[in-house]
Each structure stands twice: as structure tokens, then as C-alpha cells.
Amino acid sequence: MAGEYEQFLIHESTLLDERRFRDWMALFTEDGSYWVPATVGQRSPYGQTSLFYDDLELMRTRIDRLEHPLIHVQTPPSNTVHLIGSVTVEPGVPAPDPEAGLPTSDVLVLSSAITAEYRLDHTRTFVGRQRHWLRHVDGALRIVRKRVDLVNCEAAFEAIAVPV
């Protein structure tokens, strides 16, 4: 049971590591979103700053830019590896942040993720707890919301160009 979801998360992070950003975006539902808060325990992405808060339109713009030849902050590109662990599954969850008007999902999958990123002689690590609200659409799993709470979300970051 957890296996199916674990496979899904590994597949998702592999798409990021392989820089298949369009395929990654296709995992999201049309009302999907990707959120990386900037404060510990942040309740809503609206009233406060976030590191990422992309709906599908913003995600598309971000990926267009990632594919642009003159994206200096990805010249050369980052090389990343994700490690996903501690996957647990909870049953269908209605909107956890009523303020944000989150649509309902079938299942909530919790996991830990470590991402190593290398670029220009510099290696850094992102570590966080992930929450994926997933929905079955036409027999396939889709992401309604992905939330990543980095342990150091309140830190000063050097530029982050690719989804963590």
C-alpha cells in the first residue's frame, strides 16, 4: 500500500533530478500547487513570504525560464540527487489550510527528503519534510498540493533555481 505511493514519490524526484521539468509539472492536477514556506509552521502562503508558491501558471513560467538559453543562474545547470525516506500514508484529507482554499485530496503522503545540489564547485543540501496531497485522476496519481518544509526555511539562501 505505502509501496505504490513511495514509488510515486521516487518517480517524482527522479523527474526533477533528470531535469524533466515538464514531465514533473504534468504530475500536478490543474488546480495543483507547490509550496515551500519561508517560516516554520507557516499556516498560509498568502499573507507571508514563501520560498516557492507556484500554481500551475507560475510553474509553467518558471519552467519556461529554466529552458531559456539565457538563464544565468543555471549556466551551468545544477546537478541534483533526491533521497526520499520515511514514507507514511494517511487517508483522504480535506483542505488542511482552509484559508488557502485547498481542494480536497484522496490521500496524504508524508515523507522526508534530502536533496544534494552541485553547481560551480559548490555542493549544498536541502533537507525537509514533504507532504503530498494526492488524488486519483483517470486511474493515475496526481499531486493536488506539494508542501516542503525545509529544516532551515528561515535561513538566508543563495539563489535557488530548481524546485527543491
Binding site: Y46, G47, A159, I160
Partner: protein, 432 residues
């Protein structure tokens, strides 16, 4: 050629009319001197009074590299005191913000009021003969100035008066604050913090650099050469490039250098009448109800794109935020970006602004991240010993004198604003 020493002549030889020596960005000795002479003297932005709304509230920050506390005292006044215990020098408060009626040092328990008054010393029978509490109050910032809630401090008792220093830039601050239907803003919607492996001046210069935009931010412009809109209710962003060239509209922008290193750039012509969305229209109605139609139209006319109150704060009129520069080392800088929340405006308008800032100016943003890359690569390139000079000569000799006397204007794609910053830099750095 500059010699190795940093006497006043050595410093002066680093700056020429159209070029500066690479040491101003790379030399740790120059950086140390900047911390004393520039950041130790200049008026620096500390915070906004809405960051400490209630008595006992505090934020911590650094002025230059000196740790300070901005507090709200019991009497309601805002204070700026050094975040350093007067006993053995411990940093008194570690958190970035919070509320405490008494500041108690973790080491031996000396206890201070939010205004820095020493109230109590444990085991006071051990105090030296003649020990007086009042001799050990926290050090205060010698001078504090507040304009429309923005709190500035100087770590030097002498120097230009606050009113004279801020006068040429008041309009730029007003341009932002007046957009609040309540006439006040708050800096309480979080912060974007980012780190740059580069000298702090890279960010100060970049804040008002319109030359880099068409190329540096090429990945953010569409097929028509237009950057995505940064304003609620505006479907079209600014036209930045035309084919392979910088767009004529972009070249219409002007920059202004108004003394003390202060500078700003004007906006391209924006179609204000066509700006409309449910959220924006509601905001405009709220503003009109508060200040009247005529005044509202004037307030909403874009005059300023970005401005710099030299040396450490930028007021950004286009996508509304306050940008604070915090030098850490000669080649390391932290930049903090605060969304402006317009008090009295529909919250949806403020939410849009905050969300937009994620896209333009977070560490993970589409725009600022390419600037960060430029700063870091400048720092790397300037390690080269082959060439000592950095060119800042665009438009040199083509400046146009404007009011008030001493103020200059030219094309925003020229380098007037950089030269103006270095003129102020030299004034701070070479006075004994």
C-alpha cells in the same frame, strides 16, 4: 597606482571619475574601513516601527556588523540599542524578533529595560565599590531618526543631520506609503533573505541599474520583449527589448543622483488607465474613498521604479518592497526583502503583492536570482590581477543638472548613479 596602505591618499586613489579600483570590492582592509567610516557614520535603515508594535517587542539586526536591537519601550517609543551586554559583552538577544518586558542576559542575569536601562545585577554585594547601575546601561545608537515609521540610526554622534540626509528622498518614501488608504504601511508580511557571495556594493549599484535588465533578465521576457507584469491589474509588463536591442521605451527611463549617494530611477510610461482587475479596482475605490479622486490619481501615477537611500536601503516602487543590504564580509552579503503591506487596502491586494514578490525577489525568484549570479561572478572576475580598474564611465560628462543644486539626471542605462554612490563613498571613507 594605489599603494598598499589605506591612508586617505590611498583611499582617494581608488576612485577616478569614470573608473574605480577593483580593491574597493575585494580588499578586506577596505571592507574593515568601510565598517568603521561608512557604516559607522552614515544613517542606516534599522527597521520599521510596525515590526515592534507593542511595548516589549524587539527585532535584532546588524548595523554594519554591529548587533543592534530595535525595541518598543514601555512608554511606547521606539529605541535602538546595541545588542551587547555591558558586563562581559554577551549578545543579549539571539532571536530575530519577539517580545520581552525585560531583557535578561543569559550569562549572569544582568537585567535591562527595553530602552537599555540596567535595572538589576544578581549578587550585587559583589559589585565593585562605587558601582552604579546607570554606568552600565546598554549603549544607545547615538542618533535615531524616524520618517513615516521607517527607523534610521547613525552610530556616530556627529555627521549630517537626519533631516538634511533624508530630505532629497522623502518623495520616494511618500510614493510608497501614500498608496496605503490609511496613510501607513506595515512591514509584517515576512522577509525574503538571501546570501550573495559578493561585495555589498554590487547590490547597492544593482538596485538602480537599468543597463543590465534587457540582458541579465532575458529569461523573463516573452517573444514580444515584454517582461511579465509585476503589478496587480496590469496585464502587460514593461517592454525591455525590441528584437536584439534594448527597447526605446526602456531607454526613456531616467536616473537621478541627488547627493549623499542617494539615487533613483524613473518608471517607463505605464498605462495606468488600462490597469484593472477585481482586486485592483477595489483597491483604487478604497484609496479614492480615503483621499479623493484627484489625489488618488496622483498617488497612483508611477514616478519611481527603484531608489537607494545610500548605503543600506532601497525603496522599490514597482513591486512594492523594502530592500536592506547587510554586509557580512568583503565578499559576502545578506539581502533582506520585506513586502510592503498597505494598511487600509483590501487584504487581497496585499496578498497579491506578497505572492508576486515570491516570483520576483525570493531566493527562488525568476528575476533576482540572475542578479545574484551576476554579483557572485563579478566577485570572482575581480580576483584577476591583470586589470585593476572597473569601468563606470557610461554617460560621463553628459549629466544634466537639475534642481536642487548638485542633483543630476541622465539616461537610466548610463552609470550616473554608480558614480554618485562612489562620490559619497569617498566622502565617508576619506574624512578623518
Amino acid at each position: 597606482m594605489p599603494d598598499g596602505s589605506l591612508n586617505d591618499r590611498g583611499i582617494a586613489s581608488l576612485i577616478e571619475p569614470g573608473r574605480v579600483h577593483r580593491r574597493v570590492y575585494t580588499d578586506p582592509g577596505v571592507f574593515e574601513l568601510e565598517m568603521q567610516r561608512l557604516f559607522g557614520r552614515a544613517w542606516l535603515f534599522v527597521g520599521h516601527s510596525t515590526q515592534v508594535p507593542k511595548p516589549g517587542d524587539f527585532i535584532t539586526t546588524d548595523l554594519g556588523r554591529q548587533p543592534v536591537l530595535m525595541t518598543r519601550h514601555h512608554d511606547g517609543s521606539v529605541r535602538v540599542v546595541l545588542n551587547r551586554c555591558t558586563h562581559r559583552g554577551i549578545k543579549l538577544v539571539a532571536e530575530r524578533q519577539g517580545n520581552r518586558q525585560r531583557l535578561i542576559c543569559l550569562y549572569h542575569g544582568w537585567t535591562f529595560d527595553p530602552d537599555g536601562t540596567l535595572l538589576r545585577v544578581p549578587v550585587d554585594e559583589g559589585c565593585a565599590p562605587g558601582f552604579k547601575l546607570c554606568d552600565f546601561n546598554l549603549a544607545k545608537a547615538p542618533r535615531v531618526g524616524i520618517y513615516r515609521g521607517f527607523v534610521f540610526a547613525s552610530l556616530s554622534p556627529a555627521g549630517i543631520a537626519f533631516d538634511d540626509w533624508i530630505a532629497p528622498m522623502k518623495q520616494n518614501i511618500d510614493d510608497i506609503v501614500d498608496r496605503a488608504p490609511g496613510g501607513e504601511i506595515a512591514l509584517d508580511a515576512g522577509v525574503h533573505r538571501y546570501l550573495v557571495r559578493a561585495n555589498w556594493k554590487m547590490q547597492a549599484e544593482n538596485a538602480v541599474d537599468s543597463y543590465h535588465v534587457p540582458f541579465s533578465h532575458a529569461s523573463t521576457v516573452n517573444q514580444k520583449g515584454v517582461q511579465f507584469s509585476r503589478r496587480e491589474g496590469d496585464n502587460e509588463g514593461a517592454k525591455v527589448v525590441d528584437g536584439q536591442r534594448t527597447a526605446p521605451q526602456w531607454k526613456q527611463r531616467r536616473s537621478y543622483s541627488v547627493g549623499h549617494g542617494h539615487c533613483w530611477t524613473s518608471n517607463t510610461e505605464l498605462k495606468e488607465n488600462e490597469r484593472s482587475s477585481a482586486v485592483y479596482d477595489e483597491y483604487r475605490r478604497t484609496l479614492e474613498a480615503a483621499v479623493g479622486k484627484e489625489r488618488s490619481d496622483w498617488i497612483l501615477t508611477p514616478r519611481m521604479h527603484n531608489s537607494l537611500l545610500y548605503p543600506n536601503v532601497s525603496f522599490m516602487g514597482l513591486n512594492m518592497h523594502i530592500r536592506v543590504i547587510r554586509p557580512i564580509a568583503v565578499d559576502l552579503t545578506e539581502v533582506n526583502i520585506y513586502p510592503v503591506r498597505l494598511l487600509g487596502a483590501p487584504e487581497a491586494m496585499n496578498e497579491r503583492n506578497t505572492r508576486l514578490l515570491n516570483v520576483t525577489h525570493a531566493a527562488a525568484s525568476f528575476v533576482q536570482s540572475d542578479d545574484l549570479e551576476a554579483f557572485a561572478r563579478a566577485q570572482a572576475g575581480l580576483q584577476s590581477l591583470q586589470t585593476d580598474w572597473v569601468d563606470i564611465s557610461r554617460g560621463l560628462g553628459r549629466e544634466e543638472a537639475i534642481d536642487p543644486p548638485g542633483a543630476l539626471r541622465q539616461m537610466a542605462t548610463d552609470e550616473l548613479v554608480v558614480r554618485g554612490q562612489f562620490r559619497a563613498w569617498l566622502d565617508y571613507m576619506s574624512e578623518a
